[in-house]
């Protein structure tokens, strides 16, 4: 395992400790993701789901363990993480749009600054993506004029504009009013259907069941169980998984 390039992402024995080892957020977690797979990470709050996801692009620096992205160990010294992050889009619970920039500027800033596209190219890409999520008319608005659902769709577009190979979603619908959850999930479903590799931390069990190829159940910093949705939801093998599923369904 490890350098195996069958996997776009391979996590090997990841450990994350806080306060000098007093708190263990991730306890020897391993996870392989194939290209095109949609993985949903579920579990009670405080189980380490978000820490796991945020470790994948090193927003959290792991205490030990390895993270391979396209066969390259991101945790090894001398790796230019900025280069790899360009290929790993991330969407946050609280959108984190840049409030001082227009929607269009939010989307084009990174591709232009990092010289992935010219100003004109990136604007064209942005407009196409905005049209796809039905927000073309918002291009010149500032984020504070948008609803939560619109903000999150823009945030997805901002990540897609970099042409990522993987999309990481950190509870993308948890901060939304219920009536706006659908519009964001629809965009994500479309992405999944197009073959995007996605890792989604979510409380939306319906979405996980319908869209995910595999479900990963985490509890207390450990990956407890992993399997296809049908097995995890209908026939969990672990008692803790069963308890959790019973509570949320």
């Amino acid at each position: 395992m490890g350098t195996n390039t069958d996997y776009i992402i391979a996590v090997d024995n990841l450990v994350k400790e806080y306060n000098g080892g007093k708190v263990t957020a991730l306890d020897h977690c391993s996870l392989n993701v194939k290209k095109g797979q949609v993985i949903a990470i579920i579990g009670p709050s405080g189980s380490g789901k978000s820490t796991m996801l945020r470790s994948l692009n090193l927003l959290e620096e792991p205490t030990s363990g390895k993270i391979y992205f396209n066969g390259i160990d991101l945790t090894s010294k001398g790796v230019d993480i900025n280069k790899h992050r360009q290929k790993m889009g991330m969407v946050f619970q609280h959108f984190n749009l840049f409030p001082h920039k227009t929607v269009l500027e939010n989307i084009t800033m990174a591709p232009v600054t990092l010289k992935r596209q010219t100003e004109a190219e990136s604007r064209e890409t942005a407009m196409k993506l905005l049209e796809r999520v039905g927000l073309l008319d918002k291009a010149n608005e500032y984020p504070n004029m948008l609803s939560g659902g619109q903000k999150q769709r823009i945030a997805i577009v901002r990540a897609l504009a970099m042409g990522p190979e993987v999309m990481l979603f950190d509870e993308p619908t948890s901060a939304l009013d219920p009536e706006m959850v659908g519009e964001v999930l629809d965009v994500m479903k479309e992405l999944a259907a197009e073959g995007m590799t996605m890792i989604v931390v979510t409380h939306e069990m319906g979405f996980a069941r319908e869209v995910a190829d595999e479900i990963v159940f985490m509890s207390e910093g450990r990956i407890i169980e992993r399997g296809i949705p049908k097995q995890i939801f209908d026939n969990p093998s672990n008692e803790r998984t069963k308890n959790f599923i019973d509570k949320v369904l």
């Binding site: 692009n57 900025n82 280069k83 991330m90 001082h100 990174a110 990540a159």
Partner: protein, 246 residues
Amino acid sequence: MFWDWWQSLFADMSSTNFLNFSFLPKYGYAVIQGVEYTLILSVISVLMAVLPALLLATMRLSKNKAVRCISGAYIAAFRSTPILVQLMIIYYGVFSIITVPKFMIFGFIDSTRFIPGVTALALNSSAYVAEIFRAGILAVDSGQMEAARSLGLSHSQSMRLVILPQAVKNVLPALANEVITMVKESSVCMVLGMAEIMFTAQTIGGRTMISVGPYMLSEFIYFVVTYPTSKVIERIERRMRRGDKH
């Protein structure tokens, strides 16, 4: 005619009377120049402090402990000692090594005193402004840095494009307050013979033998400049905070 009437007001007044302003006809112009001197001195000092302060603030937030300590030591040293002492050390120490060419700024400001004075005030102010900047940067939601970094931007690109533009807005009222503080603090420059408000008052007192009057006038001028300005800033601040909620 007006000044005749003005003089008659103070005809029987003793030279120690708080409200003896009989010096005004003769020295009014000097007072106005003193006010101009003070305003120029304080505004330029704070402006000169902005860039070093930005550097100090970024150093203070650095991951490198040594860099953090250097900036911390500078800020601590300048904030924990009297500005008068700093002024003396810089004037008699640093500027005994560096010679400033003599010329007049705006026709009435002597460069050989002004430049050392501004340097001292700016160095002092940069310590305070650095703390203002640090607070302004920390007030920007941490999700902003994460979002920028997740797109592949480097730390400095994220700072420049995402964090600092938002921090500036947080910082402007505090920076204006620093100018107000500097209007008051710059009065220490009288000891170097810089012809700002206080030095002018002292000179007038010496020439006319009117002891308190000139200082009462200075008191009045400082108040008239600083109090309304600080009230205006308070209002702008309140309005900005309202604008933030969305």
